[in-house]
C-alpha cells in the first residue's frame, strides 16, 4: 500500500533558508536508504508559503490570497511517496528520518495512506471511477514524476 509522508514547515523553511550542505547530506543518506530498500516512489521538497497562494471558496466567490501563511506548524514543507507493507512498516522507517536534525527544532511528520480504486468500492459508480481515473491521468500532476 502507498503512503504520503508529509513533512512540516519550520521557521527556517518558511524563511526560505535552503538546507546546508551537511543537512543535505544527512537527509540524502536517509533517502538513499529508502531507495536501497526499494520502497521510495518519489520525494519532493516544497518552497515556503511566501511563494504560494491560497484560493478561498465561499459560495460563488473565489478569493486568491498570496502567501505567506502564518500557521507554520500546519504548513507542509515536503513529502515522500512510499510503498510499504503496512502502516507500521512506514512508521518504523520514518522514525529513522533525521528530520529534527535538519529542521533544527521539534517537529512532526504526518503519514497518510493513499486511497486506491478499491477504497471507493460502493460509493462511486463504475462510470464515476473511470472518470476519476481519466481526470488523474489527464492532469498528470507533478508528484507523479517519480
Amino acid at each position: 500500500m502507498r503512503f504520503m509522508v508529509i513533512t512540516k514547515a519550520t521557521a527556517a523553511s518558511e524563511a526560505g533558508v535552503l538546507p546546508s550542505a551537511e543537512d543535505f547530506e544527512t537527509m540524502g543518506a536517509f533517502i538513499e536508504e529508502l531507495v536501497d530498500a526499494g520502497v521510495l516512489l518519489a520525494a519532493e521538497g516544497i518552497g515556503p508559503s511566501s511563494t504560494g497562494v491560497r484560493i478561498y471558496f465561499d459560495g460563488e466567490r473565489k478569493t486568491v490570497i498570496d502567501g505567506p501563511f502564518t500557521e507554520t506548524k500546519e504548513l507542509i514543507a515536503g513529502f515522500y511517496l512510499v510503498e510499504m507493507k503496512s502502516l507500521e512498516e512506514c512508521v518504523e522507517w520514518f522514525k529513522r528520518c533525521p528530520i529534527q536534525k535538519t529542521a533544527g527544532e521539534p517537529t512532526n511528520i504526518e503519514i497518510r495512506r493513499l486511497y486506491t480504486a478499491e477504497d471507493f468500492g460502493e460509493e462511486l459508480s463504475a462510470e464515476q471511477r473511470e472518470a476519476v481515473a481519466r481526470r488523474e491521468a489527464d492532469a498528470d500532476p507533478a508528484y507523479r514524476s517519480a
Binding site: V35, G38, E88, E89, E92, A133, R144
Partner: protein
Amino acid sequence: MPTDTHRAIEAVWRIEAPRLLAGLARLVRDVGVAEELAQDALVAALEQWPSEGVPGNPGAWLMTTAKRRAVDRIRRNETFRRKLEEIGRGLPEFGPDVGVTVAEDDGIGDDLLRLMFVACHPVLSTEARVALTLRLLGGLTTGEIARAFLVPEATVAQRIVRAKKTLADARVPFEVPRGAELAARLSSVLEVVYVIFNEGYSATAGDDWMRPALCEDALRLGRVLARLAPREPEVHGLVALMEIQASRSAARTGPDGEPILLADQNRARWDRVLIRRGLAALERAEALAGDDPGPYVLQAAIAACHARARRFADTDWERIAGLYELLAAAAPSPVVELNRAVALSMAYGPESGLALLDQLTAFAVLRDYHLLPSVRGDFLVRLGRRDEARAEFERAASLTRNERERALLLGRAAACGP
C-alpha cells in the same frame, strides 16, 4: 503483550531481517545457521521490546543480540561448535567483539547481494529458490509464503529446510560469482524475482491478498537488486518490465474479475507513477545494454511501447514487431513467435501475421495451444475468410480449459456466421 509493540516488531523485522541475515551469513558462512541466530534475536526482541521499548537502532541491537546468542549456543552446545568449525569458523570471531555495536553498513550491500545469489543458487529447484528468497530477502514468514502460493505451510517449511541443507551439503560459497559464471547465476536470480512477480500477477479476484502482494514483493526485490548491481542492464530491464506490467493492475480485470485485454483496457487507470519509473529504468537498461539488449530489456521495451500509447490505436506496432524479432533471436520460443505474428499483423496487415503462423504449426509445443488457432481465426476474420475463421475459433474453444475463454471463443465462432 500490547499488539502495537508486536506489530512494530514485525515491521522492524521486515525492514531489518535481510540485512541481519546477510551480515550473519557472512560471519557463519551458512544461511541455515544465520537464520537460526536471527530467529533467536527476534525472540529476544519479542521478549524485551514490549517492556523496554524499541531501541533507537534496532538493526544494530538485533545484530549484537544474534552474535551474543551465537556465543551462548556455542558454549552450551558442543555439536553446534563442531558445526561451526566444520564450516571453517572457530570461536574467536564471536569472542571479544561480541557486545560491541557492529560497524554501520560496512559492506552490507555486498552481503545482501551475496545472500541473493546464494538463495537463488541453481543447485536449488525454482520452488526452493522462490521460497528461500522470499523468506531471507523479502522478510516474509513461512505462513505468508504458503498463503501466497496456495500450499500448506508445512510444505513451504519443508522446502526451506531442505534448501538450506542442500546449500550446506553443496558447500555453496557465500560470494558473488565472477566472470563467466556471473551471467548464468544472475539470470537465475532474475528468474526467481520474475517468477514471484508473475505468481502475484496471475492472482484473481477473491484470492488471499497475499497473492497480489507478491507483485510488490518482487518489485521491491528487483529495485533492491538494481541498487546492488547497478551496472547490469538485465536487472534494470527486469525492473522496468515489472514496473510497467504492474502499472496495468487496476485496468486488467473487470468488475466481476473477468480479464480485460490490452486493447480494451481503460488506459486512464494505468498507474502513471509506475509507468514513469518503468520508462526511467528502461532508459538506464538500454544505455547499459548498448547494441546487445537481453530478453528482459527487450520485453520491457515492448511493454514500454504499450505504456507510451495513450490509446490502443496509437500503438507503435512496427517497433513492437522489430523488438519481437530481436527477442526471438535472443530467447527463441514459439510463444514469442506467436506474439511476433500478432505484432506483424498489426503493423503490416493480417497476411504478414498469417505467413509467420503457418511456419509455427510445425512447433510441437504449440499444437494444442489454444492461442494459435485463436490468433489465426482473428487474422482470418480480418481477411474476410469467415468459414476458415469459424473453424479456427471452434478448434481454439476445444483446446482451452478456461470456461470463460471457451464461451468467448464459441461466441466469436458464432459471429463468423453459419
